[in-house]
C-alpha cells in the first residue's frame, strides 16, 4: 500500500533524501510531496561562491527529481497537526502524511551590530543573497579601491570573501576569534593560511569585531572594535548559522538547549512519525552545518522509510577546500582533543605548506590532521582516520619521505560525500563497468560531491591495472603533449624522421595531421612544404574548407570584424565573378562557398591583391577575434574593444594548435561579443580588462572562467601568450581549451598557478615561443601563390588540368548557387 511522505524544505539534504528514497524504493511504496519555501529547486549551496564566475544559476543545479515527485516550490509549511498527521502550507493546502521529514535547514546568524540592517548589508546563503550583493556592488560607485567587509572568518566567510574578490572587490575579513577557520584549522595552519590569503588581496582582521556600520551617501563605513575604520562598498555577514527549528518549537517537538530539533541516531524526533535531517537537526547534541553529515542523515531516513535499520554513522566533519588557489584541509580530530593525542607538525614557511597529523598516545592510530598550502595528502589520509598507520607518523606528511606507500583497506570510505568505499569502487572497476574517472563518477557517485577524492579515483584505477592509454594512435605510443616535447627538444623537422625514431608503420589520418600541427606550431616552414603537404587534412592541404560536394569555401581574415567598404566590394566582386555562395559567419567574417580546387589560387590572388590574407578558417588554429563596437561608437563602452581585438588577432593569427581557437572582446560588461563562450574572452572594465579562459559553444557549451581581473593591455597580452602556448604544448589532439582545463590535474587553479604565478618557471619560455611565432608569421595563401611547385598541385585532374569535375553541379536557391545533392548509390541503397 502506498504511504505518503511529506518533506518540509528542499535544500541539498531534502533533495538528497528524495533522491535516495527514489533510488531505492523499487516498488513505489512512498508517494513523495515536498513543500519548499524557496522558489527554486535545491541547488549546490556548497559551490555557491562559484555562482560569481558566470552568474548562471544553472551551473549550481542538482539532478532534477522525476515527475512522480510532487515538488511544491514557494509554499512553506506553516502548521503541523501531529494528531491528525497533516501539514498546512502558507497557501492553505492541507496535506496528510504518514511520515513527515523536516529538512528546513538553517538561517544565517547576524550579530547585533548597529547598522546591520542598512542597505548594502547582506547575508551569504542563497543565490538571491549573491544577486543582492552584486546589485549593491554595481550601484556603489565610489572612487578608488573597491572594498567589501566579510564578518566571520570561518569556512563560509572565506568563501564569501572569495565571491567578493570575484566581483573585483578587495575583501576585509573580520573574525572575532584569534584565527581564521577556527573550527577546522589550528593555530599554526591558520597563521600560514592568513599569510597566503593576504598575498591574494585579502585583509584579515582577527580578534576583533564590527562595533558599528554607518552609511554616508553611496558608501558604508564600518568601525571595528580595535578602532579601525573601513570605507566599503558592501558588507556581508557570514558569522555562522542557526537551525530553523521554529516549526518544531511551535508544534511541540523536543528542541535542543542550543537549538536544533532533537533526533535520535535514526534521525527520528520526539514524534515517531516525524524525522528531522540536516542543519535543522540536533543529533547527539550537535547541529552540523556541513553537507556530509546531512547526506548521511538523509540516507539513514531513506533506509528507515523502506524498513531498514540504518543508524547515523557519526559525523565526518572533514573539510577540504581550495580558496583562491590555497588548499585547506581538516579531518578527524584536527584539534587533538582525544586524551593523550600526539601532534606531529611539518611547517615549511618557505614552501608555504603546513601539515599536522594527530595520532593516538601510542603513535599507532591516525586520529586527524590539518593541511594548509598543499592538501595533496588529504584523499589518502582522511580515509585512514581511526586506523593504524605504519612507521613513524611524520612520514605521512614529511615532503622528503615520498616513498611511503599507504594502501587503503577495502572498507575505507574514499568518498565521504556519498559514502562510497574503496571496495565499492574497485568492484565496478574489476567488473569492467568503469574504465575511467567519468565512468566511476556516473556509476558510484564518488567524486561528484566536493571532488576531493578524484585523485584517489585515478589512483585506484591505476592500482586495478586500468591503463589510461595516452597513445596517439597505432603508430605512436606517446601522447600529443609528449610528442610535442620530443619534436621541440630534438629539433625534429619532418614526420618521417619522427616516426622512424619514435613510432612505427607509416602513419595515418590521426597522427599525420597531429604531427603536422605540432610542426606548424613550432613554425617549421610553410604547412605545404615538401612532405608536410602529405600530412595535412584536406582543409589544411588546400587552405580552404571542404564542403559536402568536394568543393571548398574561402574565408579571408577580417580582423576584429572591422572592414572597409572597398574591401567589402572586392569580396562581393570575387563572389560574383566565381559564382560563390556567400554567407556571414558567426565569427564576423564572410564565407565564400563553392570554389573548386583549381579556382582557389585565382580567388586568393584577387583577395591578396586587395590586401586580404588567409583567415585560417580551415585550420586547427586561431580563427577569429570577434568584437563589439566598443568606446569608439557605443555610448556604454568603457574600452576600445575593436582596437584590442584587431591587435590580438594580428598577434595570434596563424597559430596552429591542438584544436581551433576562438576569441572575442567585449567593450563593457553587457558582453555583446559573447566573449565568455570563447577559448579566451576579454571583457572591458573601468580599469582595464578581465580575461576569461576555457569557454566553448558547440556541442558542450561552457562559460569561460575568470583568470585575471582589471589587467592592463600589456599584462593581458602576456597572460594570453602564456595561456595559448601552454595549451599548444600540453593539450591532447583535438582537445579544446575547455576540456583541456577540465582534464587538468588541479583544473583552473593549476592553470592559474602556472601562467599567472609562474609556478613551473616556464612563463619566460612560453612568452619567447610566442614571440617566435609572431615574428615568423607569413600569409599561407601568398606562400602558395609565390611558389610554382605548390601552385601546381591545385589542379582538378592531373591529366586534364582546367577540366571541371563533372560530378559537381549547382542549382539556385534564394538567388545564389548551392550544390546539387550527390547520388550516393552504394551506401544509400543499404
Amino acid at each position: 500500500m502506498t504511504r505518503t511522505l511529506v518533506v518540509v524544505g528542499h535544500g541539498m539534504v531534502g533533495h538528497r533524501l528524495v533522491q535516495a528514497l527514489r533510488d531505492r524504493d523499487a516498488t513505489d511504496q512512498w508517494r513523495i510531496v515536498v513543500f519548499a519555501e524557496e522558489t527554486r529547486p535545491a541547488y549546490d549551496r556548497v559551490a555557491l561562491s562559484s555562482y560569481v564566475d558566470a552568474w548562471d544559476a544553472g551551473h549550481l543545479a542538482l539532478a532534477p527529481h522525476g515527475d512522480e515527485v510532487d515538488l511544491r516550490l514557494g509554499d512553506p509549511v506553516r502548521h503541523i497537526d501531529r494528531a491528525r498527521r497533516t501539514v498546512t502550507t502558507a497557501s492553505g493546502v492541507v496535506q496528510p502524511y504518514d511520515t513527515l521529514v523536516l529538512a528546513t535547514g538553517s538561517y544565517p546568524f547576524v550579530p547585533p551590530v548597529p547598522g546591520r540592517d542598512l542597505p548594502g548589508c547582506h547575508v551569504y546563503r542563497t543565490i538571491e543573497d549573491l544577486d543582492g550583493i552584486r546589485a549593491t556592488v554595481a550601484a556603489a560607485h565610489g572612487g578608488g579601491r573597491r572594498a567589501g567587509m566579510v564578518l566571520g572568518g570561518g569556512l563560509l566567510g572565506l568563501e564569501a570573501a572569495n565571491a567578493l574578490r570575484g566581483m573585483g572587490l578587495s575583501p576585509h575579513v573580520v573574525e572575532l576569534g584569534p584565527r581564521l577557520m577556527p573550527l577546522q584549522v589550528d593555530e599554526g595552519g591558520a597563521g600560514l593560511l592568513k599569510r597566503l590569503v593576504e598575498k591574494l588581496d585579502l585583509t584579515v582582521h582577527t580578534g576583533t569585531s564590527a562595533s558599528s556600520i554607518e552609511r554616508d551617501g553611496e558608501r558604508l563605513f564600518a568601525t571595528l572594535s580595535n578602532g579601525l575604520e573601513l570605507d566599503l562598498d558592501v558588507v556581508v555577514f557570514s558569522a555562522g548559522i542557526r537551525p530553523r527549528d521554529d516549526l518544531a518549537r511551535e508544534f511541540g517537538l523536543e528542541v535542543g538547549a542550543r537549538g536544533g530539533i532533537v533526533v535520535d541516531d535514526t534521525c527520528r524526533t520526539s514524534d515517531e512519525n516525524i524525522y528531522a535531517v540536516g542543519e535543522c537537526a540536533s543529533i547527539g547534541g550537535v547541529v552540523y552545518g556541513l553537507i556530509a553529515p546531512g547526506n548521511s542523515m538523509a540516507d539513514v531516513v531513506a533506509d528507515r522509510l523502506l524498513g531498514g535499520s540504518a543508524v547515523f554513522p557519526g559525523a565526518d566533519t572533514s573539510t577540504k577546500l581550495k580558496l583562491m588557489g590555497v588548499d585547506v584541509a581538516s579531518f578527524g580530530d584536527a584539534h587533538a582533543t582525544t586524551e593523550g593525542a600526539l601532534e606531529v607538525v611539518v611547517n615549511d614557511a618557505v614552501a608555504g605548506t603546513y601539515a599536522k597529523v594527530v595520532v593516538s598516545d601510542d603513535a599507532k592510530t591516525l586520529l586527524g590532521g590539518v593541511l594548509v598550502g598543499d592538501a595533496g595528502a588529504y584523499p589518502l589520509l582522511r580515509p585512514l582516520v581511526g586506523r593504524d598507520v605504519p612507521g613513524d607518523p611524520v612520514t605521512l606528511i614529511a615532503p622528503s619521505s615520498g616513498g611511503v606507500e599507504l594502501t587503503l583497506p577495502a572498507d575505507a570510505q574514499v568518498c565521504s560525500c556519498h559514502a562510497v568505499t574503496k571496495q565499492d569502487i574497485t568492484d565496478v572497476i574489476h567488473s569492467g563497468e568503469c574504465g575511467d574517472v567519468p565512468a566511476l563518477k556516473a556509476c558510484t557517485k564518488a567524486g561528484t560531491g566536493c571532488g576531493s577524492c578524484v585523485p584517489m579515483l585515478k589512483k585506484l584505477l591505476q592500482e586495478c591495472g586500468v591503463e589510461q592509454s595516452r597513445a596517439l594512435c597505432e603508430h605512436f605510443d606517446h601522447s600529443r603533449a609528449d610528442l610535442f616535447e620530443i619534436v621541440r627538444a630534438a629539433g625534429i623537422t619532418t614526420f618521417s624522421a619522427l616516426i622512424a625514431k619514435h613510432g612505427r608503420g607509416r602513419g595515418c589520418d590521426i597522427c599525420k595531421p597531429a604531427i603536422a600541427s605540432i610542426l606548424a606550431s613550432l613554425d617549421r616552414g610553410h604547412v605545404l612544404d615538401g612532405e608536410q603537404a602529405t600530412l595535412q587534412d584536406t582543409n589544411d592541404r588546400f587552405l580552404a574548407n571542404i564542403q559536402r560536394n568536394g568543393t571548398y569555401s574561402v574565408v579571408p581574415r577580417i580582423p576584429g570584424g572591422e572592414i572597409t567598404a572597398e574591401k567589402l566590394i572586392v569580396i562581393g566582386e570575387v563572389a560574383r565573378d566565381y559564382g560563390l555562395y556567400t554567407k556571414i559567419t558567426g565569427g564576423q567574417r564572410i564565407d565564400l562557398f563553392g570554389a573548386t580546387v583549381d579556382q582557389l589560387p585565382a580567388i586568393w590572388k584577387r583577395l591578396v591583391d586587395a590586401g586580404f590574407e588567409s583567415g585560417h578558417a580551415y585550420g586547427k588554429a586561431l580563427r577569429t577575434i570577434k568584437s563589439c563596437v566598443g568606446t569608439t561608437w557605443c555610448r556604454f563602452g568603457v574600452q576600445d574593444s575593436v582596437g584590442l581585438a584587431i591587435e590580438l588577432e594580428l598577434r595570434y593569427r596563424g597559430l596552429r594548435a591542438p584544436h581551433k581557437i576562438k576569441s572575442a572582446v567585449s567593450g563593457c560588461a553587457r558582453e555583446c561579443a559573447e566573449a565568455r563562450s570563447k577559448d579566451f574572452g576579454i571583457i572591458a572594465t573601468e580599469n582595464g580588462w578581465n580575461l576569461y579562459v576555457g569557454g566553448n559553444g558547440g556541442f558542450t557549451p561552457r562559460h569561460a572562467d575568470l583568470l585575471a581581473t582589471d589587467v592592463d593591455t600589456e599584462t593581458l597580452v602576456r597572460l594570453i601568450d602564456r595561456f595559448l602556448m601552454f595549451y599548444v604544448r600540453t593539450a591532447d589532439r583535438l582537445q579544446r581549451t575547455a576540456s583541456w582545463i577540465e582534464a587538468m590535474d588541479g583544473g583552473l587553479d593549476h592553470l592559474r598557478s602556472v601562467i599567472v604565478d609562474d609556478s613551473l618557471g616556464i612563463c619566460a619560455d612560453l612568452e619567447a615561443a610566442m614571440e617566435v611565432h609572431v615574428a615568423s608569421y607569413a600569409d599561407e595563401w601568398r606562400g602558395v601563390l609565390d611558389d610554382p611547385e605548390k601552385l601546381s598541385r591545385f589542379s582538378s585532374f592531373v591529366n586534364a588540368p582546367g577540366t571541371p569535375d563533372p560530378t559537381i553541379s549547382f542549382r539556385e536557391e534564394r538567388g545564389q548557387r548551392v550544390p546539387v545533392s550527390l547520388g550516393i548509390p552504394e551506401v544509400a541503397a543499404r
Partner: protein, 114 residues
C-alpha cells in the same frame, strides 16, 4: 569461349611528378574518375575517386597511411579508410570501391580501364 577484355590505358603523368604518400585525380575517357597514389615504398595504386559515403569525388585528396600495415587512404569527408590494394572499406565491410590496374611505361604512369 573466354571473352578477352581489352584494357584502355590512360596516361596520368610522369612517375616523378607523383609525390610519395599522396594522391592525384585522373579523368578517364568515359568521364569517370580515378585516384592514383604513390606510397612511400614506391608502390602505385589506383582506386575509384568517388567516396561512396558522400558521393563526392575526393578520395585522391585523402590522407595516405597504413592500418595494421595495410596501405589505406582515408576519405576527407567522413574519414572512412579504404584498402588501396583491394578497395575494401575497413570501417564498413559491406562497402568497397573499384580498383584499377596501374602501370609505369617509359616513366609515365598509366591507368587501365575496361
Amino acid at each position: 569461349m573466354t571473352a578477352v577484355v581489352e584494357l584502355t590505358w590512360t596516361s596520368v603523368c610522369a612517375w616523378d611528378a607523383l609525390q610519395p604518400e599522396a594522391g592525384v585525380a585522373v579523368l578517364l575517357p568515359d568521364s569517370s574518375q580515378v585516384a592514383v597514389f604513390r606510397t612511400f615504398d614506391g608502390g602505385l595504386h589506383a582506386v575509384a575517386n568517388v567516396d561512396p559515403f558522400s558521393g563526392a569525388a575526393v578520395l585522391s585528396r585523402g590522407i595516405v597511411g597504413d592500418r595494421g600495415g595495410v596501405a589505406v587512404v582515408a576519405s576527407p569527408i567522413y574519414k572512412q579508410a579504404f584498402d588501396l590494394g583491394t578497395g575494401a572499406c575497413l570501417d564498413d565491410p559491406t562497402v568497397s570501391i573499384a580498383v584499377h590496374p596501374v602501370r609505369v611505361l617509359d616513366g609515365t604512369v598509366q591507368v587501365g580501364s575496361p
